[in-house]
């Protein structure tokens, strides 16, 4: 693998899940429909860098992560890893390749087999990839535990004996056990309390520094992305709407959806309270989406063009390292996210 080039290149990636037609639809010869979970995403990750992928449910962020880890087969597009096309790897070659890309799953309870002991869980990738013996595996797991902040005397415990944070440490230990070059972190802290989340995030950042692992951090949590990511990609209904360096993107979002997302994050600062959110509408369905910008139905800056023409991901005005998919990027780029919040009518807000 070359050090200079990108570690992972994803181009035009698509994943459509076909919907089983009902009997009526089959008889009526209705066209087969599909959920467009990921719809043409291109992305690169450089060695040792963190790309944060923010999106809400239905944005396809987890599907994208699974595609990158080759847990789903893409409908279209290519995945290149270290310069090699891995889109169609299968069988033994795929299993071997998996040692380079590991996944930390969202659910720290469900992603650990309840019937296996700690050393068996963490040792599973080691045994699968190297065929190490039980004793060797145990020794390697023992050496690994301190790096994720677990005591070594927990080797023979079961996952249910750990707290949420402890379980997520197990997941991280399992992922790093085979020295991957890329880790897909799928909502690694969303099930954790804020204090434990801080511990895990700190650990992840340290591990990245020590081991030069690249991360694809998938989350809906803007705060986690802010701390861990170098670059941020914002996903809405299966498409990238904005991509750029973390600080620039979070402080000056260009795309209206990014603004809406940032404005919606509640801040533990009671001075900003009593503001009211002005974005209406639900996240629409992913089944055979209509043409045009997918945020158009909820966008406060929508114009007629947005409803008919797909916006393409293009360099953001005035920033070469940022991409945005909005027809009106030039006009709305400078509107602050707070503009999407309205103060409450004063008569109804008793100010403390």
């Amino acid at each position: 693998m070359s050090g200079a080039g990108p570690l992972l290149e994803v181009e035009g990636l698509e994943k459509h899940f076909p919907i089983t037609r009902s009997l009526g639809e089959v008889v009526g010869r209705a066209k087969p429909r599909a959920v467009h979970a990921v719809d043409g995403v291109s992305l690169t990750i450089r060695p040792g860098e963190t790309v944060g992928l923010i999106g809400e449910s239905g944005s396809g962020k987890t599907t994208l992560g699974w595609l990158v880890a080759r847990l789903h087969a893409p409908t279209a597009g290519t995945i290149r890893f270290g310069g090699n096309d891995v889109t169609h790897l299968s069988g033994k070659a795929l299993r071997h390749w998996r040692s380079h890309v590991q996944v930390v799953f969202q659910d720290p309870v469900g992603s650990l087999d309840p019937r296996l002991r700690v050393w068996q869980i963490i040792g599973e990738p080691i045994r699968a990839q190297t065929g190490a013996s039980r004793t060797q595996t145990r020794a390697r797991v023992e050496a690994l535990l301190p790096t994720v902040g677990l005591p070594i005397d927990c080797l023979d415990q079961y996952p249910h004996e750990f707290s949420g944070g402890g379980r997520q440490r197990l997941s991280v230990a399992r992922a790093i056990s085979v020295d991957p070059q890329l880790m897909v972190l799928d909502e690694p802290t969303s099930a954790l309390d804020v204090a434990v989340q801080a511990q895990i995030l700190n650990r992840l950042v340290e591990l990245q520094r020590e081991r030069k692992i690249a991360y694809l951090l998938i989350t809906h949590n803007v705060a986690a992305v802010r701390y861990v990511a170098d670059r941020v990609a914002v996903l809405y209904l299966g498409q990238l709407v904005e991509l750029g360096p973390v600080r620039a993107l979070l402080e000056h979002p260009v795309h209206p959806y990014t603004k809406a997302l940032l404005a919606a994050v509640p801040v533990p600062d009671a001075r900003r309270r009593k503001l009211r959110y002005r974005i209406q509408g639900d996240i629409p369905s992913l089944v055979d989406p209509k043409p045009g910008c997918r945020f158009a139905p909820r966008c406060p800056f929508v114009i007629d063009r947005c409803r008919v023409e797909d916006p393409i991901l293009r360099p953001a005005p005035g920033a070469a390292d940022r991409l945005v998919a909005c027809h009106r990027a030039e006009e709305v780029g400078d509107v602050p996210p707070e503009a999407l919040l309205a103060p409450a009518p004063s008569a109804l807000s008793p100010t403390p």
């Binding site: 701390y227 600080r247 533990p268 600062d269 009671a270 001075r271 503001l275 974005i279 209406q280």
Partner: protein
């Protein structure tokens, strides 16, 4: 100052499971006032959900048991209600909104039937067909008149109009009357197309829509107290913002007292007037939300606020609290936070610090004064 609608006094709850006794709630006192939102914030396992479910006596008893304390609601101490009479306190004015709206709605019923059931129960109770344990007059619980968005039947109930009540008492309502009332509540929670929504099943609704239905159901009982247990934690952040906005508007409109439970400091900051920070079953800090969050006087509150990731990687590591939430079956002596506390001294290991008001604070009406359960509240601002 008005009288609280619901007063929790020195409430303690324990679970007895196997050999262990888990002290989930210890000595919690709260006052809920009409139109005021009391937020309870804390980490998993701090007892906040137990508290939320204990107030309407929804906890399974056993394994839970209320050790001591009072929950005074409309002149009745709910703790004293015998178990077999518990059904008689349901639907008497304490509404609940849960975290997972999909699990809290019956998947076999359409929206219409979900909501009309709670309306029917309240209606029967108002008419005296069902005995109720909670005494006093018929709940007239919205002390403030609603704004124009709340119309028709809702307003009818809000005005303590004897004549109207008498007329209603004479007959049971027809299905279409229930349907109209359901529509009112759906409009109340800003559902644009209530006629369509009525006919849908819970699984056909989005998460945000389901939570609106839950809110409509809770409000249709015309509660004088609304308990919201992590109502938006399962929602996406933009949908959460919409639902929180809706809840804030509704709380202003119907003027009910709200107990708002959340693990999210941001959500509490957005919604609550007063906040109680819970740790290991106790409220360790309480007071006006702006004051507590801006100038915390308990080391745990401070650490919690600082743990929220608010910086970039290049700014250095996040400040993470050392140690773990204590085991509720083996709480440390003295202050439960002392093993993790930078201010801990011998006194903290011996005595549980009382939740005492801080000097020199003057809270707004109907809101608790700023209190801290720390022996050294004045040293907290100096902590890193």
């Amino acid at each position: 100052m008005t009288d609280p609608v619901l007063r929790v006094e020195d409430l303690s709850i324990a679970y007895t499971v196997g050999a262990g006794t888990f002290r989930a709630v210890s000595g919690v006192s709260l006052d809920l006032h009409p139109g005021k939102v009391v937020g309870i914030v804390g980490e998993t396992g701090c007892g906040k959900s137990t508290l939320a479910q204990a107030i309407p006596r929804l906890l399974p008893e056993p394994p839970a048991s209320i050790g001591h304390g009072r929950i005074v609601f409309r002149g009745t101490d709910l703790v004293q209600v015998p178990k077999r009479k518990l059904p008689m306190i349901r639907g008497t004015g304490i509404g609940m909104i849960f975290q997972e709206p999909l699990n809290s709605l019956n998947p076999a019923y359409r929206v219409l039937d979900q909501i009309s059931e709670s309306i029917r129960i309240r209606h029967y109770r108002d008419m005296g067909y069902v005995r109720t344990f909670v005494g006093g007059e018929v709940p007239f619980d919205y002390s403030k008149r609603p704004t124009a968005t709340v119309t028709g039947s809702l307003a009818k109930g809000i005005i303590p109009d004897g004549a109207l009540e008498e007329a209603a008492r004479d007959r049971l309502r027809t299905r279409s009357e229930f349907r109209n009332e359901v529509l009112e509540y759906l409009r109340l929670v800003r559902i644009n197309d209530p006629e369509t929504i009525l006919r849908l099943f819970p699984h056909e609704l989005s998460g945000g829509m389901r939570q609106r239905i839950m809110i409509a159901m809770a409000l249709s009982e015309r509660p004088s107290v609304l308990i919201a247990d992590e109502p938006t934690s399962a929602l996406d952040v933009t949908i959460q913002a919409q639902v929180l906005t809706l809840m804030k508007e509704l709380i202003d409109e119907v003027n009910t007292a709200v107990l708002f439970i959340s693990h999210d400091l941001g959500v509490i900051a957005e919604t609550a007037d007063e906040v109680g920070v819970m740790y290991a079953g106790r409220i360790v800090e309480q007071g006006p939300v702006a004051e507590v969050f801006h100038d915390p006087r308990h080391p745990y509150t401070k650490a919690l606020l600082r743990a929220a990731p608010n910086r970039y990687k290049s700014d250095g590591p996040l400040s993470a609290m050392a140690g773990n939430v204590p085991n509720l079956a083996k709480l440390p002596d003295g202050c439960a936070f002392h093993p993790r506390c930078p201010l801990a001294r011998p006194a903290c290991r011996a005595v549980v610090p009382p939740l005492a008001p801080l000097a020199g604070t003057s809270p707004p009406p109907d809101i608790s004064a700023h209190k801290s359960a720390c022996f050294f509240p004045d040293e907290v601002p100096g902590l890193p």
